[in-house]
């Protein structure tokens, strides 16, 4: 780009008449439509499968809409208003599920941000078997949610599960209700999710760590910085863009939690772990009350957009400081 920019004033003056010939045009600036042509394949898929359904969703959310019924009366903002009416069942259940999602984000994000960072710092050192351990920690991430759901269901079953069996051998006689009582359900969901996805965040951190200039560490050491100072004043600032990415992605992924809760606890106890996505899916795709489900999705999406924006602003302010 730099050479093109430097060359362009001269080009414009001297070769003006020739600028429409195909060769020079494509070499220098391309057709004005070229960027869009390159974007087109992605935009087409994105438009058809994301944008259009999202816009259609707004339309649906303004109706009392059932996929399979012919009458779909217009209710305006009725679905949204109902979701803020504390006497309506759907509102009670929706905010109950939002609370579950919120709790999950609150409990899981700190672990998913901090533990992989520690792991990445360790795996970034040189030691024999490093590649092996990198693979080991990443391995669970390649499993599908259905696999980890079934797997942990067997392991954590209160009466017939392997974990309680071994705990009993260790002398813990009381069977722990991992899947049916608070706070154990949260321990289970957060623990399983951390085990499952920490490899992904660790790999992202690892890439970030390798991008930090090693001369910075040398300089720090010259100035007499210890390990702790190196971490706070070289590693962390160097990781800031990566950290922003990890925090944002992790919050969004945690807010979309569905499979773990659906398969492991089924929302038990008392819909305590029925997450927002689970409730939306139940309302929309099991009961076909798709108008209400769309309205809920929009509220969830707006909240997540808000949280992500806040996240960006916070990181940016820190950067300025």
């Amino acid at each position: 780009m730099t050479t093109a920019e430097l060359a362009s004033p001269a080009v414009r003056e001297n070769q003006g008449p020739e600028r429409t010939t195909p060769r020079t045009r494509s070499a220098r600036h391309g057709s004005r439509y070229a960027p869009y042509l390159f974007l087109a394949p992605f935009m087409l898929i994105f438009g058809v499968f994301v944008l259009a359904p999202a816009a259609y969703g707004i339309w649906i959310s303004l109706h009392n809409w059932d996929f399979f019924l012919p009458s779909r009366p217009w209710v305006g903002l009725g679905n949204y208003i109902e979701l803020f009416d504390p006497t309506a069942l759907v509102a009670v259940q929706f905010w109950e599920s939002m609370r579950a999602t919120g709790l999950f984000v609150l409990f899981s994000v700190p672990f998913l941000v901090v533990i992989p960072l520690g792991l990445a710092l360790m795996l970034n050192r040189t030691f024999p078997g490093r590649t092996f351990f990198r693979a080991v920690y990443f391995a669970p991430y390649v499993l599908g949610v259905s696999v980890i759901g079934v797997l942990w269901q067997y392991l954590l079953n209160a009466n017939a599960g392997l974990i309680n069996y071994h705990l009993a051998q260790l002398g813990i006689a009381e069977a722990i209700p991992w899947l049916t009582a608070t706070p154990w359900v949260w321990v289970t969901l957060v623990g399983v999710t951390v085990w499952w996805t920490l490899g992904f965040n660790a790999v992202v951190y690892l890439a970030g760590l390798q991008g930090i200039d090693s001369t910075l560490y040398e300089a720090a050491r010259m100035d007499g910085a210890g390990k702790r100072h190196e971490f706070w004043h070289v590693t962390l600032p160097g990781l800031r863009p990566v950290l922003l990415f990890v925090v944002t992605i992790t919050i969004l992924a945690s807010a979309n939690v569905f499979g773990q809760a659906y398969l492991l606890t089924g929302g038990a106890p008392s819909n305590e772990t029925r997450t927002a996505i689970m409730y939306i899916a139940q309302t929309g795709f099991e009961q076909f009350r798709i108008g209400k489900a769309s309205a809920m999705s929009y509220i969830l999406a707006l909240l997540l957009i808000g949280v992500s924006t806040l996240n960006f602003l916070l990181f940016r302010r820190q950067e300025r400081n």
């Binding site: 920019e5 362009s8 019924l69 009366p73 209160a158 795709f285 009961q287």
Partner: protein, 447 residues
Amino acid sequence: MTLLHPPPSRRAFLGLGAGALGAAALGACGAPDLSAVDLPEVQDVYDGPPLTLTFWNGLTGGDGGIMRDLLLEFGQAHPNITVQMFAMPWSSFYQKFPAAVVSGLAPDLGLMQNFHVATNAARGVIVSLDEVADRIGLTEDQFATTVWRSGIVDDARYSIPLDVWPDSLFYNKRVLADAGLDPEEPPRDRASYEAALETLAAQGIAGHWLPAVDPQGVGRGFDSLQWQMGGELYDEAGSRALFNGPAGVEALTWQLDLIRAGHSKQNVNGGDANVAFKNDLNAFLWGGPGALINDLSSVEDLDWGVVPLPRIGDRPASFSGSHQFVIMRQRTFDPDRLAATYTFLSWISANSIGWAGAGPVPARRDVVESAEFAELQAQSAVAEALPDVRFYPLVPGIFEVQSTILYPAISDVLLGHADPQEALDEAAARAAYLLEENRQKYAEARS
């Protein structure tokens, strides 16, 4: 840098995008047509060129294999008709087939649990079979009355019952014998049932593992018990929940007391009771014959028997479901396919003894009274309960109310997180809301 040819302005670009989206949205919002259908007049037996019928259902377990065997048998009797079966989990089936109907890709016929028939009839995705039942020569006197009537919604028949599967008492003979109880005489009433549990408890055995969390329906035991105690789940119009009445509270308290007294472990998951039963750790299992007879038979060295549910209340009653055939709505009905469908329905109803091998009791009275059926020991024992089976009321959307409101409340109580009366009261209030919403929605659909 300055571009020589500025790209389209942001506004033009957004405008273009919005236009495309709007067009896509309008194109996609055609509402389905649910007007009444008249099935074309066709001959009773199909004898034309070979054709293939598609048949969707949720028979994904051992029962699927038995249905496929029956289809082969049918193919031998009627070489010109092939029935191609697609099995998927029931929950997916109820999500997918209405979509298939609306998009004009409906299978020819399906098998459905009776408590979903009213909902799908109100949705207009299955067609009325009043005349069909007459034509293939099925009448009420051939069936157990409750079962026959469970296919009728608003005075119109929408389904042909294949079978019925009342919840029954499965008992582990070895556990009973080891505790000094008679393994051939399982308890049949409240006094003997509670006495048996006490005897088992004295040997350190939790005799009745009671699922407190179960995606398959933790509340069916509760349903049976409250009917036995004289309760009702809903009023007749299906507009109000009655399960929080004294019978419901008594039923749930009885269940909770079993757990508190240690006759059941705590936090039992649906599968746990089954695993414990198979490993001789549990004496009594309440459940449906459709799943359990085959499942338990497949365990080597397990000595078990089955009888109708014990009478805990003052009258016998057992929750039951029934698999029923339905004909899916088509954009246009092909007379040949319809004739072939009738031929199949007529054949399978008459040959439903083959289906009894899957566990459920055939809906046809003549089949249940046949000598062949009498040879199926477990199924015959289950069939004793037929006069006392109870179904959910035939109200559109009723399964949602049961599965998303009542059963979670029961689960809550059995997990020890809530008091029976309070939990049922709250569930009844929530149910009222959903019942009313359903009533309005389906009334509008039918008007």
